[in-house]
């Protein structure tokens, strides 16, 4: 099965894996933003990524707009979708138990897949090329340029988000809401606004990840399956930790690439979900997540 393992092969596979891992991390960050602010487990994160990619397809291929207009336009539409979902589906249920909110997001996956198939049908499509196509040579290892650029873009976006959360007023408001909703409200933070904002921001980040994922592997109504690996990432990293999503994202991406390369693609999900089960049983709050103490 293994043959002679070539060190260059391992390096190339690892780098490609880290490229996918960066996209997993980016989507994981979108998940964490929602979870941190609203305590909602968003099972539809993969589908939000998918609809972002399709909206971009609509602008760039359907309307043939140039890239520098399509991307901002996609982000605006994504923000509207995210805000709309929060306002229509999540906010009416915020007072109920978390399990019903979680089930609403399950319903949301079905709706988003249906909408995409209704408008663009179920067949896979390719996004227009917009990343430079020249492969990059690092020593003796070749790196696909799309992988490299999507890695860089993902890294830049995550860096910007980290800075925003650390210093910007809105980011601080979001962290305050995450820590203690009642206290944040009593110092004048607009909780409903923070909820709305977190869903809009997460939808934008997910749409950006969708554009990058789509430009590497094409888009289809089934690309929401990418979200399955994202759940593994956020649970391994800890649901409410951006740094955790980052590290776990890179790790899971690398692991999937290695398993896929040396055992075959069908083993990818098996490997990640086995890790998920182990982490859930041994350390349910993940590597960096808050360890919640249960009180009566």
């Amino acid at each position: 099965m293994f043959g002679a393992i070539d060190p260059i092969d391992i390096i190339e596979t690892s780098i490609a894996g880290l490229g996918t891992g960066a996209l997993l991390a980016l989507t994981g960050v979108a998940f964490v933003i929602i979870y941190k602010a609203t305590k909602v487990i968003n099972l539809a994160i993969g589908e939000m990524l998918m609809i972002g990619a399709f909206v971009f397809y609509g602008f760039s291929a359907g309307l043939a707009l140039p890239i520098w207009i399509s991307i901002p336009a996609t982000l605006v539409v994504a923000a509207l979708i995210g805000g709309g979902i929060e306002r229509l589906m999540i906010r009416p249920l915020m007072k109920d138990n978390p399990v019903s909110v979680f089930m609403v997001t399950i319903g949301l996956t079905s709706i988003l897949i249906g909408i995409v198939e209704l408008i663009w049908t179920a067949e896979p499509r390719r996004l227009p090329e917009f990343l430079p196509g020249q492969p990059i040579v690092l020593g003796e290892a070749f790196i696909g340029s799309k992988t490299a650029y999507s890695f860089l873009i993902a890294a830049a976006v995550i860096a910007v988000l980290l800075v925003v959360f650390a210093f910007w007023r809105g980011g601080i408001a979001l962290r305050a809401t995450a820590t203690d909703r009642a206290a944040a409200s009593s110092v004048g933070i607009n909780i409903a606004g923070v909820f709305s904002f977190s869903w809009m921001l997460a939808a934008m980040v997910a749409a950006l990840a969708g554009i990058l994922v789509g430009s590497v592997g094409g888009i289809s109504s089934a690309m929401g399956l990418f979200g399955l690996s994202v759940f593994v990432v956020v649970i391994v990293g800890g649901l409410d930790s951006i740094a955790g999503a980052l590290i776990a994202g890179l790790f899971i991406g690398w692991l999937e690439a290695m398993v896929g390369r040396f055992f075959g693609g069908e083993f990818k999900l098996l490997a990640t979900f086995s890790i998920l089960l182990v982490v859930l049983v041994v350390r349910p709050y993940g590597l960096f997540g808050t360890h919640e103490i249960e009180r009566l």
Binding site: L93, P98, F102, I106, T109, G114, E117, L276, L280
Partner: protein, 347 residues
């Protein structure tokens, strides 16, 4: 207006049928089920059998999710286990149909216990993701354990044969599925008059308090997983006899969402809710097909949009019921009953 429904003993208050009216209506229902094959035929019998299989599976998920409070996103995978078990034992060992169904249930229950094992450490949403993980792993097993599951091509299932009679059509299969459905739904109803069922409800309502009053969380959560998977396994086995072929794609992840939707739409934590949910969710796609057929002459593309519209309708039903009628159709039913019981006074 109905009067004197007050009960004088716990036994009367806990009875399966609390009033004579309920007994009469139950009798009417049974008579209807016995007479149905003489009225319906072909497509209607197919629908009836499909509805009943979904009723068994939904009732199973309702025991786990509605009564014990453990959300499962892997219910369809347990059905698949039952379907594969029936296909495997019937083709390899030619065992009798009823034995195959029991094996299907038992095997499913055993795997359900395995999947339920993490449920003491983790709960709620984490458990839901763990069951999702289990269903992904089971799907992998179905796809790759070729000697047993037939890999991508799946297994063909022979016609169910009881006492020399081949149950080849839905008309005949009805007489196998209907009694099993009635027995299993009544058994589920009865379960919640026993210590085990009460323990499930206690765990759902407040697990810590349940543990303090002496309910072993571990034992009862696993029991709940086992019973729920047993129902799914039997339903999957009947499904295999009905469609006669089992492949890894027979029970996609969306099927798990279908059963969860049926529990939510029907009303989580009521037996009648499981019935309503399964009937409603099975018939909605048929209704959509009917609408599509009506629209096709004017709008020839309509059938293409059937699958996406079905997805959107499923999603909207889940979301809509959770927001506007969280107790499901069972609550609507209860309101209607109360209206008639109290008439002419307003509720």
């Amino acid at each position: 207006m109905r009067v004197a429904t007050a009960k004088e003993s716990y036994a009367a208050d806990e009875a399966l049928f609390k009033t004579d009216t309920q007994k009469v209506w139950f009798g009417v229902l049974m008579a209807g089920l016995l007479l149905y094959p003489f009225v319906g035929s072909g497509y209607w019998m197919f629908l009836a059998v499909l509805v009943m299989i979904n009723v068994i599976s939904t009732t199973g998920l309702n025991i786990l999710t509605g009564y014990t409070g453990q959300v499962s996103l892997g219910h369809a995978a347990f059905m698949a286990v039952g379907a594969y078990a029936v296909a495997f034992f019937d083709t390899r060992f030619n065992t009798p149909v009823l034995l195959n169904l029991v094996i299907a249930g038992a095997l499913s229950a055993a795997i359900g216990i395995l999947v339920g094992l993490p449920s003491l450490r983790i709960k709620g949403l984490y458990l839901a993701i763990a069951t999702l993980a289990a269903s992904v792993i089971l799907h992998f097993v179905f796809l790759n354990w070729t000697p047993v599951t037939g890999g991508l091509r799946g297994l063909n299932v022979p016609t169910a044969t009881i006492a020399g009679i081949e149950l080849a059509t839905p008309e005949r299969l009805y007489w196998l599925v209907m009694p099993i459905t009635v027995v299993m739904v009544l058994a589920a109803k009865n379960l919640f008059r026993t210590r085990v069922g009460r323990a499930f409800i206690a765990i759902r309502d407040r697990d810590i308090s349940a543990e303090i009053i002496g309910i072993s969380l571990f034992q009862y959560k696993l029991t709940s997983f086992a019973i729920s998977s047993f129902y799914a396994g039997v339903a999957g086995g009947l499904w295999a006899y009905m469609f006669r072929v089992v492949t890894p794609e027979s029970f996609p992840g969306l099927a798990s969402i279908f059963f969860l939707a049926a529990v939510i739409v029907g009303g989580a934590g009521t037996i009648i809710g499981g019935l309503f949910g399964a009937i409603f969710m099975t018939l909605v796609p048929e209704l959509l097909k009917l609408v599509a057929a009506l629209v096709t002459p004017f709008y020839p593309d309509a059938p293409i949009y059937l699958a996406p519209v079905r997805n959107i309708v499923f999603g909207l039903l889940i979301v809509g019921f959770l927001i506007f009628e969280p107790m499901g159709l069972a609550e609507v039913w209860r309101r209607m009953r109360r209206f008639f019981a109290l008439w002419p006074f307003r509720t």
